[in-house]
Amino acid sequence: MKQQISECMDGELDAQAAHRVFSQVAESAEYRAEWTIYHMIGDGMRDAPDLRMDFVERVTQRLAAEPTVLAPKPILPSRAGFANYAMYAAASLAAVAVVGWIAFVSEPAATQLARNDAAPMIAKADRVKADPVRPKLSPLNSRDHDYLLAHQAVSPSGPMLGVAPYVRTVSFGTEANGR
């Protein structure tokens, strides 16, 4: 199950398997703790500032304290799918651009570095395309094995110089029954 939680967080499970993990995590305090710890480790590695176990509780409390908004459901345009997605993407990018712009304006003494950081963010907004969907994981095929061999031949892979990385091509080969 640990393995599955981990894979789920990496987005490696298909929808069905992910839903199974979600429901199991929802039911078990132990898995929920696991889930939280994994996220905390991830956050820690990414230097996220707020490393506390009770993150979920605090968000839940804040949500509960929020007033209920009674508003009519928006009428969805009939052309569902991509148009929608693109619209959301555009909207969120616009938000990024706005946030970037506000940061830019409200900090007149901002350094050149900050300016440089903000500028490309705005510039990007008019030529961003939606990322393709992440495909389901499939095993390596025989072409991949040829490519792996070709990759190792020229790979400057870290400190593992020379032929040592070729071990990979051997190890992968035994499982995939290929080269």
Binding site: G42, P132, L148, A153, V154, P159, R168, V170
Partner: protein
């Protein structure tokens, strides 16, 4: 790495007349130089360079164990450096026998099961192993580098170096380096949850040992002369010139090489771009659709150990991105490729 100025140790001999103070100065100077050495030992970058230098220049014979997921693979490695360059042999000890023989930039892979020899020759297109040296300067912008508690691997005391990526587009590394020679004794690759996803380690090794020429020959060298030879030739190429552009690489990744590969029995050459951030390496293969390469309907993602593979169709070509980087990273690289008619 910035070289620390070394205190001239012979100074106290030059000024014998003022023996008392000179001895004092000498003491200070010696202490200073010891401190400089200490500093150098505390610098992870210096260790990275030491690793690279040792990988090329030290003779060693040892048993390597490679592990990823449920898989384990033992092999014997023999490495020698002499006036003629680097010579290396890797032979598998588990499962189907295979041998890899390297003489400088040529690698021969002997596969007795299929009676095949695959020959990979890099020719002049080889920027390695100098690569790490040229990129080592930017490593600390991409990874937080620190020294950790000393450890022991294969009976040798070693220094542990930890590289933690500053984003989630590369893996972390834990390296154990033999204190004196700088030989890398264990390398672990870590995911974003600090779990080891792949590791390679010596279980036994002789460092600085004499290596017999015979020990570097394949035991299939004689039999292999009658085997089928697959020449996986590669020549330098300019793929950007022919219209292939990578527009949105993950931070720190740079293109270090562009090749055209031809394989025995295949007419259309395959383009290969090699990218690296100084630690991780990713290849982008571009193969035209043809009889041997039917276009796939949709993109494909595979993972094994630290290797991720992402494949997609772009402008009548199959583009395959493969390397020791997380899925997000190879997907970003793959999705950033564009073909612009030159």
């Amino acid at each position: 790495m910035a070289a620390k100025p070394r205190a001239p140790r012979a100074l106290h001999i030059v000024w014998p007349g003022i023996a008392g103070s000179a001895a004092g100065i000498a003491c200070l100077l010696l202490a200073g130089s010891a401190a400089a050495e200490q500093n150098q030992n505390a610098d992870p970058m210096a260790w990275m360079q030491k690793i690279q230098h040792a990988a090329q220049n030290v003779n060693y014979i040892g048993l390597l164990v490679y592990q990823q997921g449920q898989q384990m693979q033992a092999s014997r490695i023999t490495h020698a450096a002499d006036a003629g360059g680097e010579h290396e042999k890797l032979e598998t000890l588990d499962g189907a026998p295979k041998e890899f023989i390297r003489d400088n930039d040529e690698v021969k892979c002997y596969i007795p099961d299929t009676k095949t020899v695959v020959i990979e020759k890099r020719g002049s297109a080889r920027p390695f192993p100098g690569l790490l040296t040229t990129q080592v300067g930017s490593l600390d912008q991409l990874y937080e580098m620190r020294l950790s508690a000393p450890d022991r691997v294969a009976g040798f005391a070693c220094q542990m170096i930890v590289l933690t990526p500053k984003d989630n587009l590369r893996y972390g590394h834990r390296l154990c380096v033999e204190n004196n020679s700088g030989l890398l004794l264990r390398a672990q690759t870590l995911n974003s949850r600090n779990e080891v996803i792949e590791q390679i380690a010596f279980t036994q090794v002789g460092i600085g040992v004499p290596v017999d020429r015979q020990a570097l020959r394949s035991r299939f060298a004689t039999a292999g002369s009658t085997w089928r030879v697959e020449n996986a030739g590669a020549r330098p190429a300019d793929l950007s010139q022919s219209g292939w552009v990578l527009s949105n690489l993950p931070p720190g990744f740079r293109k270090v090489m562009e090749l055209l590969r031809t394989r025995t029995g295949q007419n259309d050459p395959v383009g290969q771009m090699v990218l690296s951030d100084g630690m991780a390496a990713v290849s982008v293969f571009i193969e035209p659709e043809g009889p041997g390469n039917a276009p796939a309907a949709e993109s494909r993602l595979s993972k094994q150990g630290a290797i991720s593979v992402y494949s997609l169709q772009v402008g009548g070509h199959t583009v395959t991105v493969l390397g020791d980087a997380p899925a997000d990273s190879v997907m970003q690289i793959g999705n950033s490729i564009e073909f612009r008619k030159p």
